[in-house]
């Protein structure tokens, strides 16, 4: 059973030189309890995909094509007030910077209780009990006392735990986590990753984890979608994509990540940079940087082909050894 399906989603921004597509033809699905990683370089469209799902694309950007269904219900065509009831209640969000995601003049408890009461219509004392329970579940020590303190009294890692509690306290079915660990130190990042996995397992919430860090994907996600220049170029289970990447971009990316252990003299690198959205080449957007391109690559854009669990958008995907 799938919880969310996105089909052929295109987000367009009108610009001075015509319309620019931030993301093009993105299709994905996620099941309850699953953690789907979305990985790519800045500007690849991973955050935009998350924003589209939660209905937070800044005008003049708009969904130009495609559809988004949550538990069978189409949500991309809802009115803003209807979408507002879905946000928080059925889709939660965790953002990168825990300091700016929290209101500095309200206590942590006031923010949690407000969120719970808005979505679950509980009396105040029950909402408070539930807020304390959520703080405990995300690993805040002494939650009965900490609930009445302000965000600035929390450390960075503890703040991000509060943000996670806020995203989950209305018991949504899906959480979009956009770079949830990027602002944190590595030892704290590891704790937050473990917490996300634990909560997904316990509550059955599905998580779309947007990150640029393959290491975070490797340790957190079940499946991963690799984005490049606004499109998904490869989807599969984390183990498959990371150990046997099939798209030349994914292979280049994996090779270029420095690792602990081997110390090569020269790090494999992908030449050039990702094209900007208004200057994407015809054909495959990766073709100009691709070490194995053939004639057709610069003429025709390859479709994402494969089966339900593994697909690749590359003309060579059949020839390229897996």
């Amino acid at each position: 059973m799938t919880l969310l399906t996105v089909e052929n989603l295109t987000v367009a921004f009108p610009g001075r030189h015509g319309t620019v597509n931030a993301i093009e033809d993105v299709s994905l699905s996620i099941s309850p309890g699953e953690i789907l990683g979305m990985v790519g370089e800045s500007g690849a469209g991973k955050s935009m995909t998350g924003a589209a799902i939660i209905g937070l694309i800044e005008p003049p950007g708009r969904i130009a094509a495609g559809e988004i269904r949550l538990e069978g219900q189409r949500i991309d065509t809802l009115r803003p007030d209807e979408m507002c009831r879905i946000r928080g209640r059925r889709i939660g969000a965790i953002f990168q910077d825990p300091l700016t995601s929290l209101n500095p003049v309200l206590t942590v408890g006031e923010q949690l209780i407000e969120t719970i009461q808005t979505h679950l219509k509980l009396p105040k004392d029950e909402a408070r009990a539930r807020a304390i329970d959520w703080l405990r579940r995300v690993g805040i020590p002494a939650p009965e006392a900490r609930i009445d303190t302000y965000p600035h009294q929390y450390s960075g890692g503890m703040r991000q735990r509060v943000v996670i509690a806020l995203a989950l306290c209305a018991e949504p079915r899906l959480v979009i986590a956009d770079e949830p660990t990027t602002a944190l130190d590595v030892s704290v990042q590891a704790q937050i990753i473990a917490l996300l996995r634990k909560l997904a397992r316990e509550t059955g919430v599905a998580v779309i984890l947007v990150t640029h860090d393959m290491g975070v994907i490797a340790e957190t996600a079940d499946r991963v979608a690799v984005m490049y220049a606004g499109r998904i170029v490869e989807v599969g289970s984390v183990a498959e994509v990371l150990t046997a990447p099939r798209h030349p971009y994914t292979r280049g990316l994996m090779a270029s990540i420095p690792r602990i252990g081997a110390r090569p003299d020269v790090l494999p690198q992908i030449e050039g940079a990702m094209p900007r959205p208004h200057a994407r080449p015809a054909g495959c957007a990766f073709a100009p940087r691709c070490p194995v391109r053939i004639d057709i690559c610069s003429q025709t854009r390859p479709d994402l082909t494969g089966h339900a669990t593994r697909s690749v958008a590359c003309h060579l995907s059949k020839e390229v050894p897996a």
């Binding site: 130190d185 590595v186 030892s187 473990a194 994996m254 690792r259 110390r263 090569p264």
Partner: protein, 339 residues
Amino acid sequence: MSDPILTVTGLKKTFDLSQPFLTRLTQGGGRKYVHAVDGVDFTIPRGTTLSLVGESGCGKSTVAKLLMGLTQPSAGSIRFDGHELAGTRAGQPPAVRRRMQMIFQDPYASLNPRWRVARIIGEPMKSFGTHPDPVARRKEVDRLLEFVGLSAADGEKFPHEFSGGQRQRISIARAISTKPEFLVCDEPTSALDVSVQAQILNLMRELQRELGLTYLFISHDLAVVNYISDQIGVMYLGLLVELAPADRIFAAPQHPYTRLLLDTVPDITMAHRDMDRPAGEVPNPITPPTGCHFHPRCPLANDRCRSEAPAFRTRGDSHVRCHAVEEGRTDPMPLRKAG
């Protein structure tokens, strides 16, 4: 360890965070200090790379600023090729400072958006007087642009016309324009995407080989540091807790904090998936824990660790600041698989 280009001994930097005198008098409360760098010693042999790693607030960037004279040390000595630099300001004395330059973390903030690239790269040559003639200077700028993988025509453009990786190449060209021997690189790739990070790291290695540069490299990413370093220093709350050759740090980490860092780096081989995570965060540096600063998070801590600060002791070719290592109490502490 012959021919050190830089020797740092007992380097300290204390920031006074006290309230103003009258506020202290009327509202009570004593003086408050942060020991951002609390006595750091290291030596960098010519042509090699020393990396400092640690979490935010450990003092690694303050060390970089102290070396460059961007902030003044409270105590200690910085000797660069025989010249004492502690107490001198940035750019002073020019004959010595010309030989040390810096590459900053954020290539969007470290280039003047209103200047053309040629002027940005030419400025150090102008201010240090290495190329006073504008025509010769421009020729040198063109050569540098090509050297770092851009084209001479790029000198006429503004920084916003470049991607993050290209901007970092411009920063590197500016840093090497005065023909320095020593570069301080403060997280030079952490604002870049991975595929671009590899390009910049390769460029830096190539520069080191061709120009014989010495690097002090600052990063929070152990994998990056593994690729670029000869020596690695691990910092925690203003102190070096371990300093060792790079291969030793990864093959046989001594200090419990080094081990914690290595265990928590997200690894693309999924090696640490579902393991129990070490708890805790870096404590507030204004009120660091007594004894060894790391003891509240340390699985090996005992009463001595809680009361007595360990010394920085030499063990073979590495240096470690830990009672447990000294006493041989460091049984391997493998992370358990979570249930």
